[in-house]
Amino acid sequence: MPNAAIQRGLLKLMLKLPALRGQLQLLGAKNLSLSSLCEAYEEASSMLDRQRRLDPLDHSMISEYELICREIEEEVISICIIDSGREPSPL
């Protein structure tokens, strides 16, 4: 189950950050930080989707989870940047 959540989170991040798809796919298998973030992203984005469907809307909850999702995306980008710096691309 958690592995499935990690996988779903990774796919969602690949959709959200298309420029990093290749790198995410490679890192997803070996980077423990990225796995944790994928899992967190799956939970947070699902929660955000649920909140956006509620009536009436809980704006503070939506803002909070929007912020969390945005922060996770930034954290994932920084992991990719650090990784690119560490292992220069063979191309």
């Binding site: 958690p2 990225l34 944790s36 973030l37 967190a40 909070e64």
Partner: protein, 586 residues
Amino acid sequence: MEARNAGLAAQCGVAECDARAALDRVLADSQFHATERHRKLLRYLVDEFFAGRSGQVKAYTIAIDVFGRPASFDPATDPIVRVEASRLRAALTQYYETAGEKERLRIELPKGNYVPHFATSGLARGPSETADATETGSGQEEPTDVASAPVRRPRRPFGVIAAAATGLAAMAGAFYLSVVERLPWQPVLSAKPTIVIDVPAGSGTGGEEQRKAGDYLIHALSQFSAIRTLAPAPGVDVASVTGWVASAPQVKLQGSKEYRLSVAYSADVKEHQVSWQVVDAQSNEALRAGTVKADIDNGDAQAVQEKLLARLARSLAGEEGVIVSLEAARQLLTPSIGYGCVLLADVAASRIDPEGLASAHACLEQSVTYQAADPDVLASLAMVLVATGEASASPTVAARAVKLADKAVALAPQSSQSYIAQMQARFVTGDTEAAFLSGRRAAALNPLDDAIPARLGLLLFVSGQYSEGVSLARVAEVGCEYLHRDAALTLALEDYRNGKYREALKRARQLANPADTAVNLLRIAAAGQLGLTREATSALDGLHWNKVGSTRSIERELAARGYAPELIALLNEGLGKAGVRLAGLY
């Protein structure tokens, strides 16, 4: 249970002092890319571990204690704890893989529970490895059954603890100063401060007096939107102003500094007296204390009590009040976005400090991107757009200020600050009557805040409604320890308008602030009327209007800021006598 927790410590082979030092190092390292939330969570988990309470740490307790969720929190519907624990785990892993690579003692957060693991170099195990042993299998992290009894802690001399605490505070200060700029995606968010009223229970008549005083003080403080007011016991309605409903147990708001206000009320036939003390709820440090007294002259004890407590509330939570000053000082030491920017803006606006306003503006813009629905931030941004002169220079900016203020009003219809922002934004767009309506609503929402009639009075006065403006300035003047700048300027302008130039000049001198153009203009004009050319010249030297990108003359600027033509003409007359032409001033 105790054996098991102690066993864990022994298994780690790590002394508590070493573990705590490792925690301090990671928290103080700017390379540890974790949000304030994660830092709080990590510290909490380590504290609970060494207090022997790891077994009691569940998603629910973390949500309440660390994330400020209400008592009704349900981990099944709100995954906040699992999400943040995963992010913390990622931040720790990332840190020890990069910057903290050489760290001898590593703190890990294995998956499946909320018990930290301390691994010495070479013995470190990956989180996934631990996960295999403790995974709950449900995808929802709940701790496995871990011991909860206290672990025996080594005795340490107090001096060592104090030195470590001082060092930690210094490191934390340095970290905070760097965090806002260096980690743009991980801002430190702050919220408005919380005051918990603490009125010691008494018995008999004195006890009843105390209780009544406590109730009225909660009512008075809750009208000020600069703070969150919590009653000492559940069941007291503070929602009327803050929009937050008290429930048991009291909920801590993330990023909100908590203060405890202890109040002792005493009354005799001659006078009423209230002694107060503001205490830092975390450190128990007494920050400010004082005594306020009032004589019973008309025999109405209740009126005296209410007046006394209203004065206390104003001096605590009003503009430049004790709590606001403490928070502003804290913001300077540990910059944050969110409510911290609101404080910066308040301080800069009260000092008419153009540089401060510019940095508060940038801070608020950043906050809005993270907290698009925070009424305090929106209202403050609207007020800053007006105060910097941007709104009067550009109709687009003015429209934005109105929109921001309208949103603040929609989000916090019980907050007087939202209506003040709406008043100022509407006034600058020329909707004066609508602006005055907003101002009156603000005054009705918080009749205790003397800054509201002062601000409204000045706008009424400069727009030509002199008598109403003056009467509001006098309202602000009565029962006040210091006179609000807007009320003082209104009264000075009134003196000038009535030909009382000497009085007007005296008031303008008292308000001396080189950056305050309106006051300086009045000073030049009054000096001109009195033939004091030297004073007029020196005031002229310091004159510059706080405006952004505008090349309009000060005369046109005054008109754009809503000054009535008659008032501008009167000022021009005095300036002419001082040898200055208003239309020629830029």
